[in-house]
Amino acid sequence: MIRSSHERLARVAAILTLVALALMVWSVLDPRPLSTVAAMTVGQVIGTTSLVLFLVVVFVRRRP
């Protein structure tokens, strides 16, 4: 059960990272105000959230 929830969290982290990366690539290939602001605000928040989720998966699982 716990293992399954960790795997689900890891998958959510992977999907969020993909969304953040898509925003970042959009902003560098089409650097207009909306894409740039989206990448540097929403993209950063999503990317940071995914990293936190991944760290939770790694460190919570390491605890005895």
Binding site: A14, V25, L34, G47
Partner: protein, 203 residues
């Protein structure tokens, strides 16, 4: 000033490459659904914790540099007359004169409108959010300054303390007001018109 075009191209390429490799790792993880063992975590660490932050870093640098460029400001249609005037080699407005200056050139909007001080870049970007919000919520409203234009933005380059400054009779008579900022450098009759909307005419 800032990054060269070649350096920015390298950063754009780096962002896309790093994002692509990271995405590949993550898509493989999502499709194959391997157990969360040590090797899987190591790959995820590479995809989520190393490559994507590096892509974000490179992308942010590109974003910061792109947002300084005149064409970036001109991508909102309300700015079209300002940007067109700045690029007009025959225009006599202050903005056009400064845009012909090699030091400002393609980043002339940013150089003259950025804030001043240690956190100038950050506060200028935050103010940019307000512009963006105003543009999308009131797209037909003409742009306006949210606060009076400060003389110190001019004096970053045009010092008031150089000997020649007081040699100009117009400067000498109001130098106290100019230095205090109570009289603007771009007052009508002085260094105006700045933009076409403030009365700029082609000669």
């Amino acid at each position: 000033m800032g990054f060269s075009v070649a350096a920015l191209r390298v950063l754009v390429g780096s962002t896309v490459a790093l994002a692509g490799i990271s995405a590949l790792i993550l898509v493989v993880f999502l499709v194959r659904r391997p157990p969360l063992g040590g090797m899987t975590k190591a790959w995820l660490l590479m995809g989520i914790g190393v490559l994507s932050p590096l892509a974000a870093l490179a992308g942010n640098i590109v974003g910061f540099e792109a947002s300084k460029r005149r064409e970036f400001c001109g991508s909102c249609h309300t700015m079209t007359p300002y940007v067109a005037d700045a690029a007009d080699s025959g225009s006599k407005t202050l903005a056009a004169f400064h845009s012909r200056n090699e030091h400002q050139g393609e980043v002339s909007c940013y150089v003259c409108h950025k804030n001043y001080g240690l956190f100038a870049s950050a506060t200028t970007k935050v103010r940019g959010f307000r512009h963006l919000w105003a543009y999308y919520t009131h797209p037909d409203r003409p742009p306006k300054l949210y606060s009076p234009y400060l003389n110190r933005r001019c004096t970053e380059c045009h010092s008031m303390t150089l000997p020649g400054f007081d040699d100009e009779p117009e400067h000498a008579t109001i130098k106290t007001e100019l230095r205090a900022g109570t009289t603007s450098c771009v007052t009508a009759g002085c260094h105006a018109p700045v933009h076409p909307s403030t009365g700029g005419k082609k000669s």
